[in-house]
Each structure stands twice: as structure tokens, then as C-alpha cells.
Amino acid sequence: MKQSKMIRKLINKIFFIEILQGMALTLSKLFSHAVTRQYPDERRDAMPGFRGLHALVQNADGTLKCVHCGACQSVCPSKCIRLSITKDAEGKSVKNYELELLRCVFCALCVEACPYGAIVLTEHYEYCDDSREPFRMTKPKLLRNWEAYMAGDRGEEYLKKFWLPKSEDFVEREDQAVFDKSRIEKKKASERSVK
């Protein structure tokens, strides 16, 4: 038993069995298909739910969904979002929404934090450039991104499928605790009337 093992070992050594096996493998791979994807010619579609370039979500009438609560700004771990607000006769509105793309880590916590699904990551990922300026996103640029990559039902579907903003299931429960005195009065009144 031991001897036959040794003989086999010796034969392996003399005839380079292992090297020959390796060479058979490389030869078989020579005639197999390469796995290379020729990138600029053969593009790969982004996986569903891919986190690419940012966009600000628009309503159907072209207004921002953003309610300038600043949740995205405070949750951002790389501190790349800066939100500024103006006040005028109609009330507060978003003055600018700055986003430093080069600092973003694409964690999508902003998307998760936004109660109204107002910011979103699109599936677009080819936006290389040779200066810093194009990577500083502003409100009009982010709105344009929405129009370019998420227009129509696409964006809404993406948000509902992968993020489900809290605004989708905002329901005021009947037994909700409230601190509004007038509402308490109303509630009591309604209870009385039921009796």
C-alpha cells in the first residue's frame, strides 16, 4: 500500500503529471469563451435598485416634493448635503439644494430618511469629468437629473419598489395621542353626541 503510493508519487514527479494537468486546463480554457465585457461597446445595464447619480423628485406639476425638513442633511454621514431656505410671502421654500458628489458615499441614507421621497438615487452611473465643478450638484442640476433619468412612471416605481417613502402610508390613527386642546374638546363632544 505504502509502496504503491510512493511509486505513484515517483511517477508523478518523473512525468510532471501535475504540470501536464495544469497545461491541459489552460489549453481547455484557450478554447472557452472569454468573460471580458468590452465596456464602451457593450454597456451593462444597472442592476435594479442601483445607487447612482442623485436627483430631486418633482411632482407632476413640476414643483419640488422637498419640504425642506433637513432630515437628509442631518443624516448624511459624509456631510455632503447643504440645504438653504428662503422665506417670502407664500412661506418657506427651498432656495438651493447643494450636493457635493465627490464626497458622497452613496449610502442612500438621505433617501431612506426623507419622509416624502423627495431625493432619490438614479440608475445613471456614467458621469465622469475632468474638473470639480460638474460634481457640485445644485437644485436645477438635480431637477434636470430627475427629468433625464427618472422621468414619467419610472421614478415613482423606483421609489415605491425600493424605498417606500413614509408619505406613502401616512395614516392618522383614531387613538393617536394629541396635545391640541380644541381637538380634545371636539373628541369629547363627539363622544357625548354618540351617547
Binding site: I19, L25, T26, L27, A34, V35, Q38
Partner: protein
């Protein structure tokens, strides 16, 4: 008056010159496309594609590479020993190109038909090692220096095995003339020396890998440890000369193997006996096909076998290959004495 002898001499010199130009052109073209096929073959063996962008399936890649090397800035280290630094690539390149001149590519094409052809090729491949050693010493770089030291030791130890492995062929052919060696092979049933000389062929192949600094014995230019080994400090056209020298050396070693073991430009007699029309195809086609096969084996081994450690390399050279080639000589001599061969 010009004597007819002188005219005859001039004509012969002109013919030799024309032949040389043709040979250099053809060989350089082969070198260019050898790099392309090496990248393609190794690429596909690693399930990649290799060069694809320049021309159809990257066919113009060698041209692009050549242009790049020609127009590249030539950088010379400030502390380099300039005359030696300049001469090193030339020595390497000229030595291997000279070795080409004695190789009979077919029955009627060889630049010089000399009686010590085999010895001449061995001598020239040793001289090309000088280029490598000079390059290492003159570059004033530790990588180049280490590479050249390794190369010196490697070439020295494998030269012995290479020479000894060919002794068997010399004994069978009874000549050092490369043509005579090819003619001598037609007396054997396979028309090749590889079958009586299988041991010698194995030693020759291994030593040829080491001699041309190819994987698994590419320690002089081991890129993972020595950048590019002895030609680390070279750039531009001088780099190209070294690079070309390596590929020409590969072609020379393949032709030597073809001539000494695979029957040169002839086909096995039983094959031509079965298909007489094969005789009508010029011998150079068979010679080229055999060389391509040998070069493919070079690539194939490179894609498969990892590099040996340095002490392993030395052990293989001195403790395995040289005893094996001596054994081969002994066996060949005994068989010849008994009268089997």
C-alpha cells in the same frame, strides 16, 4: 581589368546581403506578431480577450506598440556607464540575430552553411548573455544589477545542460552542420530525432526556456520582484531592442529544436509515403509550422507554470538536467555501439 573571380565574389556578397535583408524583415515581422499572439494566447488561456481595440481584434497592436516605442523619450540614468549602457542592447540583439544567419530554414535557404553551425548558435546565445550582464552593471540600479547577476548564473548553468543535451544529436548525426543533422534524421522511421532522443529533447526544452529567460525560469526579469530585471532602466528604442532580442532568441531556440529534434523542413517519411502531394509544398512551410508549434509551447508554459525559486532553478540545472543529459549521452552511445541506432 576586373577579374571574373572578383565579380563572382561581389555577386555572392550581394546575394547574401539580399538574403539577410529578407531574413531580418521576415524575422522582425514575426517578432512583432509573436508579441501579439503571446498576448492573445495568454489572454484566452486566462479567459480574457487580449488586445482588442487597435484594428480588427487588435491586429494592429504590434504596429501601435512599435510606434510608441520609437517616439518614446529615451531616458538614461545620470550615473549610468554610458558606453556600456549604449552597447548592451546592441550586443544582445546582434548576437541573437547573428545566430539566425546559420539556420537553414529550408533546403535552399540559409545565409551561411557552416560546418560548426550548432556550436555557432550556442556560442551566440552565450554572447547575448553579455548584453544582459552589461545592461545590469551599467544601469546603476539595484533591480537591473540583481537581474543581471541572476541571468549570469542562470545562463552559465543552463548552457552546460543545453550543450550536453545536443551531444546526443551530434552523435547520431555525426556532424555539427545543421543541414547534415536534418538529412541524418530522414534515416529514422519518424524522420525526427525526438524519438530516439526523447530524454535529450526534454533537457533541451527545459534548458531553452532558461536560456531565453522565459517563464518558469524568467528570474532575470521577474516582474513581481525586479520590475523588469536587467532592462529596468532602458526605455524607448533600446528597450525595444532588448524586447526584440528576447523574441528572436525564442525563434532561434525554436528553430534549433526544430532542426535538431523535429526534422527541420522535412516531413516524416511515412507521412510523405502516404500522401505524396505533401512533398510539393515547400519545406519552409513545414519549418515555419514547426517553429510556431514550439513558440506556442513557450506561451502555453508561460500561461501555466509559475516561476521557480532561485535555489530550485539552480538545483534543477545542476542536479537534474546535467545528470539527465549525461545519461542521455551514455544511452545514445551504448545504443550506437550495439548498432540499434
Amino acid at each position: 581589368m576586373v577579374s571574373p573571380e572578383l565579380i563572382g565574389l561581389c555577386i555572392r556578397i550581394i546575394i547574401i546581403l539580399i538574403k539577410s535583408v529578407i531574413l531580418v524583415g521576415v524575422v522582425m515581422l514575426h517578432v512583432a506578431y509573436a508579441t501579439y499572439f503571446e498576448r492573445k494566447v495568454i489572454g484566452h488561456m486566462q479567459v480574457r480577450l487580449g488586445p482588442m481595440r487597435v484594428g480588427y481584434h487588435g491586429l494592429l497592436q504590434p504596429v501601435a506598440d512599435m510606434m510608441k516605442l520609437l517616439f518614446k523619450e529615451d531616458i538614461i540614468p545620470s550615473r549610468a556607464d554610458k558606453p556600456i549602457f549604449f552597447s548592451a542592447p546592441v550586443i544582445s540583439f546582434v548576437a541573437v540575430m547573428t545566430a539566425l544567419s546559420v539556420i537553414p530554414f529550408s533546403d535552399d535557404f540559409s545565409i551561411a552553411n557552416i560546418n560548426v553551425g550548432l556550436l555557432f548558435i550556442l556560442a551566440m546565445s552565450s554572447i547575448s548573455a553579455y548584453g544582459i550582464i552589461f545592461a545590469g552593471i551599467a544601469s546603476d540600479s539595484k533591480f537591473a544589477f540583481l537581474g543581471s547577476l541572476r541571468s549570469a548564473a542562470q545562463v552559465l548553468s543552463y548552457e552546460v545542460a543545453l550543450g550536453l543535451s545536443l551531444v546526443g544529436v551530434m552523435m547520431l548525426a555525426g556532424s555539427l552542420n545543421l543541414r547534415d543533422i536534418v538529412y541524418a534524421q530522414s534515416a529514422y522511421p519518424f524522420g525526427m530525432f525526438i524519438f530516439p532522443q526523447i530524454l535529450g529533447f526534454f533537457v533541451f526544452l527545459t534548458a531553452a526556456f532558461a536560456e531565453t529567460n522565459r517563464t518558469p525560469f524568467d528570474l532575470p526579469e521577474a516582474e513581481s520582484e525586479l520590475v523588469a530585471g536587467y532592462f529596468t532602466e532602458y526605455s524607448g528604442f533600446r528597450f525595444a531592442l532588448f524586447y526584440a532580442a528576447e523574441y528572436v532568441a525564442m525563434i532561434v531556440m525554436s528553430s534549433l529544436g526544430t532542426i535538431c529534434y523535429l526534422g527541420g523542413w522535412t516531413l516524416p517519411p511515412f507521412l510523405t509515403g502516404m500522401f505524396p502531394f505533401l512533398l510539393k509544398i515547400p519545406g519552409i512551410v513545414w519549418f515555419a509550422l514547426k517553429i510556431y508549434g514550439c513558440i506556442f509551447i513557450f506561451y502555453w508554459i508561460r500561461a501555466t507554470v509559475p516561476r521557480y525559486r532561485y535555489d530550485q532553478l539552480m538545483n534543477i540545472g545542476w542536479k537534474i538536467l546535467i545528470p539527465l543529459s549525461l545519461l542521455n549521452i551514455l544511452i545514445t552511445g551504448l545504443l550506437k555501439m550495439v548498432g540499434v541506432l
